[in-house]
C-alpha cells in the first residue's frame, strides 16, 4: 500500500456552546422565538408557585379594578384577579397546546413512517385518507365533535383531544414525504447491507435525520392547537369556568370590556396569546432553517 496517511493537523473546533451561541446569533427568529417562549415559561412557572389559584375565579377580589400594585393586571367584572388568571390560563393553554401538539405529531410521525417506509396498500390507504381529509376544514369538524360531547365532562384534556383528532394529517403527509426521500438515500441501502432490519432503519437511520422536521411539525401543531382552542372558546365550546386565555378574552368581549373602559381585561390575554403564537411562529421559522439543508451552513 503506497499511501501513507500523515497526521493531519486537526482543526480546533469551538465548543458546542459557542457554536450554539453563534448559531442563534445567525438565526435571530429562532432566538427571539425561544426567548419569548422562555419568558412566558418563567412567568408561568414563577406564577404557579406564588399565586393563590382561587384568585383566578370569580368573586375573589374587588371587581373592575385597573392594574395596580395589588392587582398587577387588574381585576375583571366578575372579581377575578387577572394576574393569577393569566398564569393559570397560560398553563392550561400550554397543556392543550403540548398535549394536542405532541399527540398529533406522534401519530402523524408514526403514520407517516409506516406509510412511506412500507409502501404498498398501507401507504395507499394512509395517504389517501389524509388527502381526503385535508380539504375538510378541521376547525368545523372540531366544532361538530365538541358539539357532540357532553359539555359537563369537557375538560382541558378533552378539548386538547378534540383538537388533536384532525391534527395528524398534516404531520403525516410531511413526514411521509420526508421518509420517502430519505429512504432513497444511500445510507439506508448501506444499513440494509449491514443487516439492519426495518425497525432499526426507521429508528436508527431515518428518524434522527427527521428530527428537525418533526420538531417543525410539532411547533406547527402546537400553534394550530392553541389557535383552535381559542376559537373553540370563542364559539362557546370548552370548559367555560376555567380562565383559559380564550375564555378570558371572550368573556371580556361579551362584557364589552373595551367599550366600558376596562381595557386591561382583554389586553392581558391578547398579549399573552400574541406572544405565544408569535414565538411559535418565529421558532417555526427558525427550525425551518434548521430543517432545510441548504441553509444549514454549518454543523
Amino acid at each position: 500500500m503506497s499511501s501513507v496517511s500523515l497526521n493531519q493537523n486537526l482543526i480546533k473546533r469551538p465548543g458546542r456552546l459557542v457554536l450554539l451561541g453563534r448559531y442563534l446569533r445567525r438565526n435571530p427568529s429562532l432566538t427571539i422565538g425561544l426567548a419569548i417562549m422562555l419568558g412566558l415559561t418563567i412567568f408561568t412557572v414563577y406564577g404557579l408557585l406564588t399565586i393563590n389559584p382561587k384568585d383566578a375565579y370569580p368573586l375573589a377580589v374587588r371587581p373592575q379594578q385597573p392594574p395596580s400594585w395589588k392587582y398587577p393586571l387588574g381585576t375583571d367584572f366578575f372579581g377575578r384577579d387577572l394576574y393569577p388568571a393569566m398564569v393559570i390560563g397560560l398553563w392550561q393553554t400550554a397543556i392543550i397546546g403540548l398535549f394536542a401538539g405532541a399527540l398529533g405529531t406522534i401519530v402523524g410521525t408514526v403514520l407517516g413512517f409506516l406509510s412511506a417506509y412500507f409502501g404498498g396498500i398501507l401507504d395507499k390507504t394512509i395517504s389517501t385518507i389524509c388527502q381526503i381529509l385535508i380539504p375538510i376544514p378541521a376547525f368545523l369538524i372540531h366544532v361538530i365533535i365538541a358539539g357532540a360531547i357532553d359539555k359537563r365532562s369537557v375538560t382541558i384534556l378533552t378539548m386538547a383531544f378534540v383538537v388533536f383528532m384532525l391534527a395528524w394529517m398534516g404531520p403525516t403527509l410531511v413526514i411521509r414525504a420526508q421518509v420517502l426521500t430519505m429512504k432513497e438515500r444511500q445510507f439506508v441501502s448501506v444499513a440494509k447491507l449491514s443487516g439492519m432490519n426495518s425497525f432499526g432503519i426507521i429508528f436508527r437511520e431515518i428518524l434522527p435525520n427527521l428530527l428537525p422536521f418533526i420538531a417543525a411539525a410539532f411547533v406547527n401543531q402546537v400553534f394550530q392547537a392553541v389557535f383552535a382552542s381559542l376559537y373553540l372558546s370563542v364559539v362557546g365550546l370548552g370548559p367555560l369556568r376555567e380562565p383559559l386565555l380564550g375564555n378570558t378574552l371572550w368573556s371580556a368581549q361579551s362584557q364589552a370590556a373595551f367599550f366600558n373602559g376596562w381595557w386591561w381585561w382583554p389586553i392581558g390575554p391578547t398579549v399573552a396569546l400574541a406572544l405565544i403564537l408569535a414565538s411559535l411562529a418565529l421558532i417555526n421559522m427558525g427550525i425551518d432553517e434548521l430543517a432545510n439543508p441548504r441553509i444549514r451552513t454549518s454543523e
Binding site: P58, L59, F77, F78, G79, G236, L240, Q255, F259, N260
Partner: protein, 556 residues
C-alpha cells in the same frame, strides 16, 4: 319597485337580529316570529299597557265575559278596521283566526284553544261570541290580548282561506295586513318598513298620524353576532335610535358618551324596566340530591343577593325572592299583609352559610378535602346550565357563590341547555318564569303536579321542577276558576307562595330587566317611568312595539 327617498329625520333605525327568511310575512307560517318588524303589520283584538295596568282596545272595541263563570266571551270589532287592501276586518276574520288556532297543530295557541274553546260564532259582521267548555277567566288576557311576546294577532281570512297549506304559505311582502307599516325593501342586512297613508287606526281615532315615516330594522346579528359593544358604539353615534337590551355598565357608558341617549329610568340605574321573566335556579325535584328540600334550601342560603346587586347591577336592587315580576297587580299582591307575614316567617332571601352548612350536615353530607359537600363519595353536581347571551354576567357569579358554599358548581352554556332542563337531567338551570303579569296564578301553576312529567319524559312549558305536592295542587285547583279580584283567590295565592318558599321549589335569583337605550337625537317620547305613554314596555321587538314606534315624536 321604486323606494321613496325618506330623510333620516323621518326614519327610525333599530338594531335587532334578523333571521326570518326574506319574504315571509304570514303569521301562521311555521317558524314565524313577530320580533323582526312583523309586529308592525299584524294587530290583535287588544293590547295591554303593562305599566298602566290597562287594556288598550284595538281591532276590537270591547271584549267582555258575558257569563259569571267565565264561560262566554263576546267580542265587538271596530267598524273602521280595514286590511291594507281595503277589505274590512270583520267577524269572519276573527272566527277564521280562532278556528285556525284550534285546528292547526303547529300554531302556538293550538293547545289553549283545544283546552278551553267550545265554539266560536259570528253573531254579525262586527260581533263574535266565544263559548268555553270550562271557566276561563284568564283566556281573554293570556290569549286574545297582545303584550310582551304573547297573544295572537288576527289574520285576514280572505287571504288565507284561499291557501291550501297555511303553515307553509310565505305571505310575501304584499300580503294584506292591518298594521301601519308595509315592507318596501328587504335583504339580509336590513328590513325597511314605510308608513301606510291609509292606516285605519288613524281614521278610527285610535292614534294620531305617526311621525315615523320609515322604520329600518338593521341586522346586528343578534346575541351571536356583532358584540354588544359595537352595537353600543353605533347607538352612541346615533346610527341606531334604539337596539337590544344591554348590561347596565354598557348603558352607563353609552349615556356618558352621548347624553342624548336615555332609558326607561332616564339616566339613572337600573336603566330599564321590569321584564316578565324573573330568573330562578331551577332543579329537578325528583332527582337526588335535589329531591331533598333541605339541600335546595341550603343552596338558597349561600346565595348572597346583595352581592349580586353589587357585582352585576351596580347596586340596583334586582335580586328577587319571587317567581313573578312585580308589575302593579303583583306588587299589590306581595304587599298584602298575608304575604308580608310569610316573608317575615320564612326569610326566603336569607344569606346564611352557617345555616346552610347545618342543613347539609343534617341531610347527610360531609365536607371533603376540596371543601365540597359530599355524600356516598359524590359531590353535588351543581353545574349551572344557562344561556350565554343573557346569563354570561350572572351565572359565573352564582357558580362561585355555590362553590364557596361547598357545592361542586360550574358554568355550562351549552346549546342544548334548554333540552337538558326539559329532560330534567340533574343539575341547576338558570331560567325565567314567563308566566304571570297581573296575578300570580300563572307563575304558581308552573309547579302544579299536573305538569310534573315523570323522570325520563320531557317537561313541557318550562315546568322543570317536576314538583309533586297534592296539598299544593288542591290550592291551585281551587284558584283556577276564580278571577283575581276575588279575595279567596288572593288568600289561596299567598298560601301557595308560602309552600313555594318553605319547600324552596326553585331558588329565585333576579328580576329581569330590559335595559334598552333610547336615542333622543332624532326621536323623543319613548316610554319611560316619567312618560308611560300608552303604558307599554319599550321593547320595539315585542308585540306592543308598534305602539311604541307610532307614538314617537320627531326631535326638534
Amino acid at each position: 319597485q321604486e323606494v321613496a327617498d325618506i330623510p333620516r329625520e323621518d326614519t327610525l333605525h333599530l338594531g335587532w337580529s334578523l333571521t326570518s327568511p326574506i319574504g315571509t310575512t304570514n303569521p301562521w307560517l311555521a317558524g314565524y316570529t313577530h320580533q323582526q318588524g312583523e309586529a308592525l303589520q299584524w294587530e290583535p283584538l287588544s293590547y295591554f299597557g303593562i305599566f298602566t295596568d290597562k287594556e288598550i282596545p284595538w281591532l276590537a272595541d270591547s271584549m267582555e265575559y258575558t257569563k259569571d263563570d267565565f264561560t262566554e266571551l263576546v267580542i265587538k270589532l271596530n267598524p273602521m278596521a280595514k286590511w291594507s287592501d281595503g277589505v274590512s276586518v270583520t267577524s269572519r276574520d276573527v272566527v277564521f283566526t280562532f278556528e285556525g288556532q284550534k285546528n292547526i297543530g303547529t300554531l302556538p295557541y293550538n293547545a289553549a284553544f283545544n283546552q278551553f274553546m267550545e265554539s266560536v260564532e259570528a253573531v254579525d259582521d262586527l260581533t263574535v261570541k266565544l263559548t268555553f267548555n270550562q271557566p276561563a277567566p284568564r283566556f281573554k288576557f293570556e290569549v286574545l290580548t297582545l303584550k310582551f311576546d304573547t297573544g295572537i294577532p288576527i289574520v285576514p281570512a280572505h287571504v288565507l282561506e284561499a291557501v291550501e297549506e297555511v303553515s307553509e304559505f310565505e305571505g310575501g311582502a304584499d300580503m294584506p295586513h292591518s298594521g301601519p307599516y308595509s315592507i318596501v325593501s328587504w335583504d339580509v342586512n336590513q328590513k325597511v318598513y314605510d308608513l301606510r297613508e291609509d292606516w285605519w287606526a288613524v281614521e278610527a281615532g285610535r292614534i294620531d298620524t305617526p311621525d315615523v315615516k320609515r322604520v329600518v330594522y338593521f341586522n346586528i346579528g343578534g346575541q351571536v353576532g356583532q358584540g354588544m359593544d359595537i352595537v353600543a358604539q353605533r347607538v352612541v353615534n346615533s346610527e341606531l335610535d334604539s337596539a337590544l337590551d344591554m348590561r347596565s355598565s354598557v348603558i352607563d357608558n353609552i349615556i356618558a358618551n352621548n347624553p342624548k341617549v336615555t332609558t326607561h329610568s332616564g339616566d339613572q340605574p337600573p336603566y330599564g324596566y321590569l321584564d316578565w321573566w324573573p330568573n330562578s335556579l331551577w332543579m329537578n325535584t325528583q332527582l337526588a340530591p335535589y329531591d331533598d328540600a333541605r339541600v335546595r334550601r341550603a343552596m338558597s342560603l349561600v346565595i348572597n343577593r346583595g352581592l349580586i346587586n353589587d357585582f352585576v347591577y351596580e347596586g340596583a336592587e334586582i335580586a328577587t325572592i319571587y317567581p313573578f315580576p312585580l308589575y302593579p297587580g303583583l306588587q299589590a299582591f306581595v304587599d298584602s299583609p298575608a304575604v308580608k307575614a310569610l316573608e317575615e316567617e320564612l326569610q326566603p332571601g336569607l344569606y346564611d352559610p352557617d345555616a346552610s352548612a347545618a342543613l347539609m350536615e343534617e341531610a347527610g353530607f360531609t365536607m371533603n378535602r376540596d371543601d365540597l359537600w359530599e355524600k356516598d363519595g359524590e359531590t353535588v353536581d351543581a353545574t349551572i346550565l344557562g344561556f350565554e347571551g343573557i346569563h354570561s354576567d350572572i351565572v359565573p357569579i352564582l357558580v362561585e357563590m355555590l362553590r364557596n358554599g361547598g357545592f361542586d358548581s360550574d358554568v355550562s352554556f351549552v346549546q342544548d341547555a334548554y333540552q337538558q332542563m326539559g329532560d330534567g337531567v340533574a343539575g341547576l338551570y338558570m331560567f325565567g318564569h314567563g308566566a304571570s303579569l297581573k296575578d300570580p296564578y300563572a307563575a304558581l301553576e308552573l309547579y302544579h303536579s299536573r305538569f310534573s312529567a315523570a323522570n325520563g319524559t320531557s317537561a313541557g312549558g318550562n315546568r322543570f321542577s317536576r314538583y309533586i305536592n297534592p296539598e299544593y295542587d288542591a290550592i291551585l285547583d281551587e284558584m283556577a276558576p276564580l278571577s283575581d279580584d276575588d279575595p279567596r283567590f288572593q288568600e289561596l295565592a299567598a298560601e301557595a307562595l308560602g309552600i313555594y318558599w318553605s319547600e324552596q321549589i326553585d331558588i329565585p335569583i333576579i328580576q329581569w330587566l330590559h335595559r334598552i337605550p333610547y336615542n333622543q337625537t332624532n326621536w323623543t317620547n319613548w316610554p319611560t317611568t316619567a312618560n308611560p305613554a300608552m303604558g307599554t314596555n319599550g321593547a320595539f321587538w315585542a308585540h306592543t312595539g308598534m305602539l311604541v314606534i307610532t307614538n314617537l315624536e320627531a326631535a326638534e
